[in-house]
């Protein structure tokens, strides 16, 4: 491969932090995934900020927060502006993940790391692809193509193949699953024989999975026992990825009359459960062959659930009769309904909590996996509550005062009735017309008491004066709110109740933070529904795939070392194990350098057209040159970026005129049959006989000799010279 290939791990190297890498192929920088952890680690963002403006494309593998969580921040707050590529399900479900995450956070505190607008802006940038659809990158990425391949694990999950035209391929495969599941096919990574570079994770290198059957039985037993003891089961799952497998499996279990489950209830609880299931229904073509066949055969949509009830709030869930099994997001139990339910249910020994995936260390779910139940834990509880009693009265009083003020102001210009039409035209997201929605945007999926026949749309009259619309300055006061939040966080240490009143027309609320010590009496069990290949199969796949170079990322040091050793010993691959922030050079040719052509040289070049390209002969010498000050790259804040020492010395090609003239070079691989057509266009008759092209009635012979040379023979005539010049025209001559 004659391209310079480098990989820099911004996150997800030598540990289990979310994946985020920059792959550099010559000048093109591709961001591979852009995940964020449950705690919104800002360290990683600092690193991302340095590179955000140099990124030409983003490739996403999965729709979950671990793989795309930081994108809304990167787009909305850091100004990432480049096409993002993902499959259709990753696009749809990714949106669900982010909406759910936002709403879960919003239900706990004043959340302003990113807004729903940022989420929408991010997903607008996504180019939606199908599996095996090869797309050429545009602009700077000219000559590079990307192809998403099925990866299993989650719907739409992708292994990316990045190809430089006419050269070898880079494969980015993480978290893939080779096993067939109920709703997904396994990946077929091993079919991509001998890629020149494989970037893969070591997350599961030392991990052994229980057999699927044993695992399913364990889940079933746990559920049945708990329900029969009159307890509830909480299953912590993600929003729109692995939940599909579990939901489908449980609904099928419930359909089985002998299972004895019919007496109990089954519910799916997250902020977007209706939409998740609707989208799943319309993505059958992305699912397993078995599901697809059953749909074609019986027209039963596998996600048309019979027993699973969809809930969007705790009050809806309360209407579902107990004992019940609840699938709730998020899997880490740091936010969302799973945390709420855990707090409600954990003290009762009849209840059971099932954790389905190993989330980042430090999260509540991981703590429970590692330490089990039966002990006490200290938890910080953040919650948004409605204002009550005196607080509410106070708030309403203030509202009224403000209202009166507004009325007074508006009295002057309430004659602008004819502006109603404007509200129809200007539906822009930031327009003041929909400020009602804007304010309760957090409550987008929340169940409001007010029942609307369709999406709530308040048509509001726009007030105008000579200067245009009248705005309320407080609508634009987001920055201040943020600052207050930070205060809030600091106050947690003092264990004091802090409150922040938000002004939402329908529900005045405040956010409270309190610390609580809870006794975990309920059963806690970790049952692996991660849907990832385990260590043993990982090694097997690697041995079959035989990549020539491997970059091992994401996995603790031990796992990384295991994979590295395996690749070195069994498939003789070159292995790289970058640390966080480190850049590795995986260029296959060892003596490739990037050189800069000087202007003096370029202006001397005499380009000749040859098919799709232009070629020129170069006489030059290689020199080291200090890079000029003006060429120094600036980052967003107009500060010079930290450039490595090596970068400052640039190899350049300088004109070198001290050479003897060279023999002319003819460039083209001429086919006589093509030349025959050229001759025909110029009205010269010709025909083949014994591999020789005879022209002008047999007076001129053109033949191809073994060395690839073309021989032209014939009597000197006008035609001879015409044929000769036509022949020369077929070549680029340097």
């Amino acid at each position: 491969m004659t391209s310079i290939i480098k990989l820099q791990a911004l996150s997800g190297a030598m540990d289990e932090s979310p994946p985020c890498y920059i792959l550099q192929v010559d000048d093109v920088r591709i961001l591979l995934d852009c995940g964020w952890d449950e705690k919104f680690n800002m360290e990683f963002i600092k690193e991302l900020r340095r590179h955000v403006h140099s990124i030409d494309a983003v490739l996403l593998s999965y729709p979950d927060v671990v793989h795309l969580g930081a994108l809304p921040y990167a787009v909305g707050k850091l100004g990432l502006n480049c096409p993002i590529y993902a499959t259709i399900p990753v696009y749809k479900m990714g949106q669900m993940f982010m909406y759910d995450l936002y709403q879960s956070q919003y239900n706990m505190k004043e959340f302003c790391i990113f807004s729903l607008d940022d989420v929408d802006a991010t997903f607008e940038k996504i180019v939606q692809l199908k599996y095996n659809q090869t797309i050429p990158l545009k602009g700077k990425g000219y000559g590079l193509t990307i192809t998403p391949l099925p990866a299993g694990h989650m719907i739409g999950g992708t292994i990316w193949k990045i190809m430089k035209v006419g050269e070898e391929d880079v494969i980015y495969a993480n978290d893939f699953n080779h096993k067939k599941e109920r709703h997904l096919n396994g990946c077929e990574l091993e079919k991509l024989q001998r890629p020149s570079l494989l970037i893969t994770d070591a997350f599961n290198a030392t991990y052994q999975q229980a057999r699927r059957r044993a695992r399913d039985e364990k889940l079933m037993t746990n559920i049945l026992q708990t329900l029969r003891n009159n307890g509830n089961v909480l299953i912590a799952v993600d929003t729109a990825g692995r939940v599909l497998e579990l939901a489908h499996m449980l609904d099928q279990l419930w359909r089985n009359k002998e299972s004895g489950l019919l007496a109990y209830s089954l519910a799916l609880l997250n902020n977007v459960s209706y939409n998740v299931v609707e989208f799943a229904k319309s993505q059958i073509e992305w699912m397993s062959d078995k599901l697809m066949r059953s749909f074609e055969g019986a027209r039963n949509n596998p996600f048309q659930f019979k027993h699973l009830q969809l809930c969007h709030s705790l009050s809806e869930l309360n209407k579902v009769s107990s004992p019940k099994v609840v699938l709730a997001s998020s899997p880490d139990m740091e936010s969302g309904f799973s945390r709420e339910l855990f707090l409600q249910w954990c003290s009762n020994p009849n209840n059971s909590v099932i954790i389905t995936t190993r989330t980042s260390p430090g999260t509540l779910a991981r703590d429970l996996v590692d330490n089990g139940g039966g002990h006490t834990i200290d938890l910080t509880i953040e919650r948004r509550v409605k204002l009550e009693g005196t607080e509410l009265e106070e708030y309403e009083k203030r509202q009224r005062e403000r209202h009166d003020d507004d009325d007074l102001k508006q009295d002057g210009d309430s004659d602008s009735d004819d502006d109603i039409e404007m509200s129809v035209i200007s539906k822009g997201r930031h327009d003041i017309v929909i400020k009602q929605e804007g304010k309760i945007s957090g409550g987008f999926f929340k169940v409001t008491k007010k029942q609307h026949p369709m999406y709530p749309f308040h048509e509001e009259k726009i007030k105008c004066d000579e200067y245009g619309e009248i705005i309320k300055p407080e609508d634009y006061k987001l920055v201040e709110v943020c600052a207050e939040i930070e205060d809030n966080k600091e106050n947690v240490v003092i264990k004091k109740e802090e409150e922040e009143i938000t002004e939402i027309p329908e529900f005045p609320t405040k956010c409270i933070i309190l610390n609580r010590t809870v006794q975990v009496n309920c059963q806690v069990q970790y049952i692996d529904f991660e849907g990832r290949s385990d260590g043993e199969s990982l090694m097997k796949i690697l041995s079959q795939l035989k990549p020539r170079r491997v970059i091992v990322v994401r996995g603790n040091e031990e796992s990384t070392a295991v994979i590295a050793k395996h690749c070195l010993e069994n498939i003789q691959a070159r292995v790289f194990t970058p640390n966080k922030g480190e850049m590795v050079d995986a260029t296959s040719e060892t003596h490739i350098y990037q050189v800069r052509l000087t202007d003096a040289l370029v202006s001397q070049l005499n380009f000749q057209k040859a098919k799709d390209a232009e070629v020129a002969w170069i006489n030059a010498q290689i020199l080291f040159r200090e890079s000029q000050a003006d060429a120094k790259r600036m980052n967003a804040d107009n500060e010079p970026m930290e450039v490595d020492e090596e970068d400052q010395k640039v190899l350049t090609l300088e004109p070198y005129n001290d050479v003897a003239p060279h023999d002319p070079v003819f460039i083209n691989e001429l086919k006589l049959s093509e030349f025959k057509q050229v001759l025909a266009k110029s009205n010269i008759s010709s025909e083949f006989s014994g591999g020789v092209l005879w022209c002008s009635g047999g007076t001129i012979a053109i033949r191809k000799v073994e060395s690839g040379r073309i021989m032209l023979e014939g009597c000197i005539s006008e035609d001879y010279y015409r044929v000769k010049s036509l022949l020369y025209e077929q070549y680029a001559i340097l």
Binding site: I88, L129, K130, Y131, N132, Q133, T134, T147, N275, E278, F279, K281, S282, Q283, I284, E285, M292, R293, F295, E296, G297, R299, N300, N301, M454, Y455, S673
Partner: protein
Amino acid sequence: MSNKRKPDSQVPAEESDQLVIMPLGAGQEVGRSCIMIEFKGKKIMLDCGIHPGLSGMDALPFVDLIEADEIDLLLISHFHLDHCGALPWFLLKTSFKGRCFMTHATKAIYRWLLSDYIKVSNIATEQMLYTEADLEASMDKIETINFHEEKDVFGIKFWAYNAGHVLGAAMFMIEIAGVKILYTGDFSRQEDRHLMAAEIPTIHPDVLITESTYGTHIHEKREDRENRFTNLVHDIVNRGGRCLIPVFALGRAQELLLILDEYWSQHPELHDIPIYYASSLAKKCMAVYQTYINAMNDKIKRQIAINNPFVFKHISNLKVSNKHFR
């Protein structure tokens, strides 16, 4: 490429530059689409339809002109009978052993459309080309391809573009040794309520194989046509009449249902007038329309986030035993 060579030419098929295209049906006629392509030793069949006006073996394309076992690849553009009607017969009753592809939606509807065709064919059993069991068995031999997904079968590279026309309808771009052939099947460049307009490939094909059914026909503008339709229906029900619309159960019928459902929701005064579709086939395939949203236009794809447009509010299915219809 089209150098005329003598048939007894010494050049082996793999090296020959000759591209042979032979219609086995739908050449100078409408119906039983079936086209053979032969290039560089690869043989591809495009569509395998029946002639709707004929029955039994007479309706088949002229497949006796070719050797079925030499065909590498069979592509089906959409689910209409004149494009896939002979497929179960060809897959099961001939020596064909190549691979067969169609889009997901086409495959799902094909199953029920042909099942219906078997039931309504009013001919003797011995004349039947295939049975329900054959049709069922043919499902396992058909593979699916998503739009824009690239496949490579025995060195033949091909992918599908949206063709409009009916749900799942595809145009195939086939590439053999760098030569590209585009087969459009039936297509429509008019975006309608649920389907997108046929895509125009960004890549230039070397050879284009296209239909010419409406080659001399100029369509009325979509808006005018729809207005004429809805006004007529409105007039009829307004004067107390009943309106019977005879349509083929699948394809355009769903578009008409969308038009009527939308018109009804815009006209509350019509709400007490019921709309029925009296087709068990359409009912069977409604789930397919509710599912393969991704093969439709952007409007529908956006709407799915709010509600499924194929869950009608004013239209219901009319069961045969239903006594409403008096």
